[in-house]
Symmetry: C2
Subunit: 542 residues, 2 copies
């Protein structure tokens, strides 16, 4: 049996585009005389469709698209994901379903059994878990179809009480297919590979795995669709971050191949480029605007944006104040020159004076403090948004994860933007990415990388005035945010108790700020945003 | 058996405060010679604890608090909600549990079976559903304990396949207790009463229902704890929005009482006052700041804030521009005088000029458009946040739900604030609330209520220039947002097809704005925020 794997970039709710992509892929697979073509989970509507699923109109459009797909399935079978209606009275009204289509008809369905509901996932919000199992026989092979999470219960402390593969194994399948919507993070690839290998070996089955590629707002899908033999060896593996249709013949399988290995920093970089590119493409935008400070965060953001959108489409705006160092302008200009991006300079001192004058009656007895620092950051946001509004450039946010964690940023100031590019990248990782960018030639000016980080909002300010060294801060943050260690566990690791307490308090009391930040491209196993849900009025470690 | 119902206001993660409240209530109930005291669902940690539940340190503190409660349970039994650990290998690691405590020990636990995961609920994210049922016998009575949602499967199309009460009925209980964390919306009270009545009648059981009171960021709990007899008659009902400890004697029950009935507008008003009050109290803030435009939205917000925080604690800031009408200032000043709030006036023209000058090189060939409107709104935000930063006033957002729905507001401008007070109140409801406020005497100036709504960001601007009449707009919005009708269903109701299409497109393409707005006090069954989760890059009805 010749199987086509369609690792495609779908668009949530864009039924016309998704249908056209699916049908084009089917026609291509027919030309290649494939017997079966496989599309990812919920390919018809895009993933994650979220509360669109609560509209019966949306479900009708899914059904209509399935009918349109049926029309081109003569001489080929199709496996494709879409929601379907649960016709039982009790339970949620929808299933997350893999449709098996041949000769113009849906001949078999398998609903998803394990519904992930942690981190960024909300599937139990919409779907009833499947409790009925069967295999479909096609071209003499018994095929077990699973959907993403259905294979992810191999841990000794599994999240679910049922094991779909134990049920499906009773039907003695010859082949295991998994259609997925498994978002990228820098650890996900290894975990995914390990889960697939474990299933191949445990059930002595070859596995065909087909994943989404492309970004949907904050979620980035890396693809990595793959075929494993029944010993867990990789026979075929698709490139990451690229749309690919490839083929596998069960009667004439590829020989064992080496797993793709991409260094973590490169993975993150490529994920972020795809994230920016798809956000703009799917929103219908072409141009971006970035406030360029001469510091490393905005420099890295500009490099990523220029690669994603084309250097000519990213406008850099330099907005020096009376507190800006000379190098902040010269470093920024050097970067703009290296990248050949358009730029403009708007000094902010006159506007700062104008606010100071207007606020003088109220503030005359008060000292310069964080208020005046924030006014500068907010003037810059007003300017960036004005250019955005006038010419249609989308503002990219340049905050990093370390700042976002401890609230070291100005709400409605440098925390503005349509999309946060590096908001899931700790400061120490920002340096790693900058070195990766500069590996072949100096793009980000060396001085931007080597100078001490500073917000430059008051004379001689340094990040280290208010924050611990980023090397230490980031380690504590990773342990708290990604690993979810509590204060006692952190102190047991050897960190200073007072520092741990102070950092955790900063993180927890900054929740109100993060609530209002733009969506953040997710590259870690625990990003701020939809995957980390914290009470604002909570009084815990704060 | 004399039962105390403790309808209290807990604080998420504030274990010391919650413990002290619980223990004080137990001691009071002992003085009243009660046999049993009942606290709400997850009272120990507050509701909803959200991802704090993923920290083992947090769970340890829950256990420690339960131990501290045990110490005062001699001569009285206690039912109290807290998370507990699931010791089975498979399934999620926690249960949402009702502890039964007597004589210093936990003698019985009942875990929650039905885990709500719709709208604002995320319980399946954390908890394993219960599958084991039993009753506890105390003072000769068999008591069935359920937790909130466990009773909410009485619809003919239930969300769940199991019926906990069918299981518990097998043990022939004498009394049904439900501990709840059931957040307010203006329909919830009636639905709750109906669900409790249905259960009382179906299972022929008296019901004691104990709910939270108080607000946790956007969620407002109204209390309304109640006792029903086995025919569903109300024997006891607690006041809404107030902490109350009350008593019920099963051997000497109160006679049938009339259900509390509060008009919808008053319910919403009181909920919003509590929401503002508790946000400030739980965050440790005392003072608020509001930008007062002379329009009805900021006027209503100021009235609510003054009632919640005390008139002397709410600073009104008037920020007229060259486009402001005379009445915008006079109406605002009249309101400030009526409420006796402090106020200040900061004209924004000089700052607007300063931005215009700075942007002149870029904008010289461009016409005045929405960009300049937004600059004015953003200057106001910079000023409000400057006062907030300097003196510690928290900015209250004044946007209404109709604006938020169609994106009629400036991000980082009038959409700023720590908390959105009326963001779940449609414009037509804002008028109803204003009339309610003025029922006894004119507090909100009549001119504020009668003049046509305008953002006053360009000469002679009116909301009706860009939006349909609010009477029609709000009806379409309620049908789309609360009822989740699709375009065809809306057109079938008689609305103009082009208008429906335009409004739905405005709602869906404004998702990126709403993503960055402050938490919104929830008073409807479907508020923007955590209860409505929409993709930003989605291309559906847009």
């Amino acid at each position: 049996m010749k199987i086509a794997l369609a690792q495609l970039n779908f668009h949530i709710g864009n039924f016309e585009l998704n249908r056209d992509k699916i049908i084009a892929a089917i026609l291509q697979a027919k030309e290649q005389v494939a017997d079966l073509i496989i599309f990812p989970e919920l390919a018809v509507c895009g993933y994650p469709p979220r509360d669109f699923l609560e509209f019966s109109d949306f479900i009708e459009r899914c059904k209509k698209t399935i009918a349109e797909i049926c029309a081109v399935t003569h001489d080929i079978a199709v496996i494709v994901g879409a929601p379907s209606e649960n016709t039982n009275a009790a339970g949620k009204n929808l299933f997350n379903t893999a449709y098996f289509i041949e000769n113009g008809q849906v001949t078999f369905v398998q609903h998803k059994s394990l519904l992930p509901n942690y981190d960024i996932f909300d599937e139990y919000r919409y779907f009833e878990p499947n409790r009925n199992f069967a295999v479909v026989t096609y071209k003499g092979k018994r095929i077990a179809i699973t959907i993403c999470e259905d294979l992810w219960n191999t841990s000794p402390d599994p999240l679910y009480v049922t094991k779909p593969m134990d049920e499906l194994a009773k039907f003695h399948p010859d082949l295991l297919i998994n259609i997925a919507a498994s978002p990228f993070n820098y650890l996900q690839y290894q975990e995914r590979k390990s889960v697939l290998q474990t299933n191949a070996v445990n059930y002595n089955l070859p596995i065909v795995y087909v994943n989404h590629v492309g970004a949907q707002t904050e979620l980035i899908f890396d693809g990595g669709s793959t075929v494993l033999d029944n010993q867990g060896n990789t026979l075929l593996e698709f490139p990451f971050f690229e749309e690919t249709i490839g083929y596998f013949d069960t009667e004439n399988p590829q020989s064992k191949t080496k797993d793709i290995e991409i260094p973590k920093t490169e993975l993150i970089y490529r994920a972020l480029v795809l994230g920016v590119k798809d956000y703009f493409q799917k929103m219908g935008f072409t141009k971006a605007i970035i406030g360029l400070s001469g510091g490393i965060d905005s420099a890295l953001t500009l490099v990523i944006a220029a690669e994603a959108l084309g250097h000519e489409n990213v406008l850099a705006v330099l907005m020096p104040s009376q507190f800006s160092s000379d190098h902040s302008v010269t470093d920024a200009l050097q970067l703009v020159e290296n990248l050949n991006c358009p730029h403009t300079i708007i000094p902010i001192e006159s506007m700062f004076q104008s606010f100071s004058t207007a606020l003088h009656p109220l503030f005359q007895r008060e000292k310069f403090n964080i208020t005046e620092e924030n006014i500068q950051a907010r003037i810059r946001a007003v300017l960036l948004m004005a250019v955005s509004n006038k010419f249609g450039h989308i503002l990219l946010n340049t905050s990093n994860k370390s700042e976002a964690a401890v609230g070291y940023g100005t709400l409605y100031g440098d925390m503005c933007g349509g999309l946060s590019v590096i908001g899931d990248v700790y400061k120490t990782q920002v340096y790693e990415l900058a070195r990766y960018v500069n590996a072949q030639q100096e793009i980000i000016p060396m001085n931007t990388i080597t100078k001490p980080p500073s917000a430059e909002l008051r004379p001689d300010q340094k990040d280290s005035d208010s924050l611990p060294d980023y090397e230490i801060l980031d380690k504590i943050l990773v342990n708290y945010i990604e690993q979810r260690l509590g204060p006692n566990e952190l102190i047991a690791l050897g960190y200073d108790a007072a520092m741990v307490q102070r950092i955790l308090k900063l993180v927890n009391t900054s929740e109100y700020k993060r609530y209002q930040t733009p969506p953040i491209l997710r590259v870690s196993p625990k990003a701020f945003g939809m995957g980390r849900r914290m009470p604002i009025v909570g009084k815990y470690l704060s």
